[in-house]
Amino acid sequence: MSKKDLSVEYSTILIFALAILTMPIWLSPIGAGYPDLLQKFVIYGIFAVGFNILFGLTGYLSFGHAAFLGIGSYATVWSFKLLGMNVIPAVIFSIILAGSFAALIGYITLRRSGIYFSILTLAFAQMCYNLAYSVLTPITNGETGLRVLKTDPRIFDHLFGRGQVDGPLLTDLFGIHMTGYPGFYFCAILLIITYYIAMRIKRSPFGMMLKAIKSNQTRMNYTGFNTRPYLQTAFIISGMYAGLAGSLLAITDPLAGAERMQWTASGEVVLMTILGGVGTSLGPVLGAGLIKYFENIFSSYNDNTLHAALSFMPDWLNDVLTIIISPFVGSGWHLTLGALFMIIIIFLPGGIMEGMGRIIQIFKPNKPGGSTKTASQG
């Protein structure tokens, strides 16, 4: 890598880090400047970045990534229960566990490609979900969800004389409670680190291999190249990202439930990645933020608030609009999600990044030839 590339890379990550860390400031005008939502942006950003390493680079569409998210959450809560409320062992434990599950599942599913791979991963995720709901209830606590209790061993907490806690049990990083803004900054720093790693992976020879697999795997095989280890590694890495995201979800809110593993959750991360732009570095983070933002905004509306929000319009128009829009907000948020999904795939398969690329193309003076490269390929 030349010196210029390196400096571009550093400045990119610097700008990215600045943007993420100042999110509480520049997102507050649009009503998203509170820690709970910001944490979600960042955590699902990590999830989507990890998913993009698999789907974006290799083109293998996994429909079962939510399983790793769930595994990460369960592992974290168990670490809290057994070891204590410190987040460091919890995060490490989750990443390792999710990674080993990914190794196992990847070993089996990666024998097939295309739709078979999608269906196999879907089958595995459903299997995990069903097991978590039924037989594994001693481990996962079934429908109620797993949470930390005061009676749990928490070895290290007791060892350091912090076993007795008045009030609720809070996760902490050496005394700093991981709720509110400290929690957000913890997740944000992890997002920046993981984003940097993903960027490096994409530019490394390993990333080039993955992209080559995407564009023509048969040719790779014919040149005497074994693609399996590369795919396997990519699968494990993205599984670890999902595990980390699941772990952070449990850290900011120490409750793990099986519904996190349902296949609609897997579908959601696919949508985030596609909405932002498959294969781009920034796209998945953007997509995750947008989806979570809209989810939050849309699901908070009901008929009355909608009516109030549109009160600046004439009465008849207000009524008509309320009737039209109301199925899409509140509990109907999934309808909006599904419609968005379709619209994006039909009209803008490259996601927002491609859209921005197109807009930039319009305003750019036409260069003679060779200017067809859009953001989605870059």
């Binding site: 097939r112 078979y116 037989v135 795939i345």
Partner: protein, 337 residues
């Protein structure tokens, strides 16, 4: 012996539903080359055809209750009963089988609109795009149903005459304890006859012959001057009808709610993969096979041996099949391997 026979029967009716959905999926995949994640939604729409037909029939009016004389009491009486008396009552009683008549044109229309409006534009896109757009469509359809019918399951009842159980044990000379609900038997018979009808349609008619030829080699059929696209559209409609009917008749067995389709879809995909992508016979036989396997796995004896096996057996079988025999049980060589 009784227990085994009972489990086989238990598996057959669920297997019938799997087989019907998987048949539609395979038809669509074989003809149009589309991986349709919205197929479960078609099953659900079928089920809600039955629900809304029933709602339509039981549209009621408040009538003074004559049996209570102390005060003015009112009860709801369906218009049909007011107009036609006992005939109306009978029609309401038979609402589920009668709604087949409504479901066929509705599903055909839904299927054709879906194909012409959306799926058509995705023939040349990647499988990933097809999966994603139909997945989005499935979410949209299911949320629309949820908006109109609510999130709770809506129970439907089978006609009074078949409400009880059939004494299968007595017929076969086994124990008298072996009984089986009539409606499930009817469902099994119904699914078998629908499957037979589809196969007959494909094997015995000229239209079916052209479709089969198109599945085999689309280009050549096109070169012979046959408008294969239009026929494939009708095939899509047919597949929609098949899974819609599966949904209609399943309502008395399992009260439909808005995500019933998703549950069946995932399993039906597994069925298609196990049977062999593009093989109609494979889809049907794998449907019944997995249904029976699932019902055996939910026996108490087996559950105590391997806990949780009933939840995962189908997925487990699919994984093993895909690893040992990647093209599925009856898949032909070279078709989507």
């Amino acid at each position: 012996m009784d227990a085994i026979l009972l489990q086989v029967l238990n598996g057959l009716d669920k297997g019938g539903a799997y087989a019907l959905i998987a048949l539609g999926l395979t038809l669509i995949f074989g003809t149009l080359g589309i991986v349709n994640f919205a197929h479960g939604a078609l099953f659900m729409i079928g089920a809600f055809c039955a629900v809304s037909f029933n709602k339509l029939l039981t549209f009621s009016i408040k009538v003074k209750d004559e049996s209570i004389t102390f005060f003015d009491a009112y009860k709801e009486v369906p218009y049909l009963e007011v107009w036609w008396g006992d005939t109306g009552k009978a029609i309401i009683d038979y609402s589920v089988p009668l709604s087949i008549l409504i479901a066929i044109p509705v599903m055909l229309l839904v299927g054709i609109i879906m194909e012409r409006g959306l799926i058509r534009h995705f023939y040349k896109r990647t499988h990933a795009d097809q999966i994603l757009v139909t997945f989005g469509l499935a979410i949209v359809l299911q949320e629309i149903i949820k908006h109109f019918f609510g999130a709770n399951p809506i129970p439907q009842s089978a006609p009074e005459i078949v409400a009880g159980s059939a004494a299968i044990g007595t017929w076969l000379g086994l124990s008298d304890n072996l009984v089986y609900p009539w409606w499930r038997l009817i469902y099994l018979g119904f699914s078998l006859s629908v499957i037979a009808a589809v196969f007959a349609f494909l094997q015995l008619t000229t239209f079916g012959m052209v479709v089969r030829a198109g599945m085999h080699d689309r280009e050549t059929v096109g070169l012979l001057g046959i408008n294969i696209e239009r026929r494939f559209t009708i095939v899509f409609g047919l597949a929609a009808v098949v899974s819609g009917l599966a949904g209609v008749m399943y309502t008395p067995i399992l009260p439909p709610d808005y995500h019933i389709g998703m549950e069946f879809l995932v399993l039906s995909f597994v069925v298609v993969v196990v049977g062999g992508m593009g093989s109609l016979g494979g889809a049907v036989s794998a449907g019944f096979l997995l249904g029976i396997l699932q019902s055996f796995a939910s026996m108490n004896e087996i559950k105590s041996l391997i806990p949780g096996i009933d939840q995962i057996i189908i997925y487990l079988v699919a994984v093993v099949i895909l690893l040992v025999r990647p093209r599925g049980l009856m898949g032909r060589k070279g078709v989507m391997e």
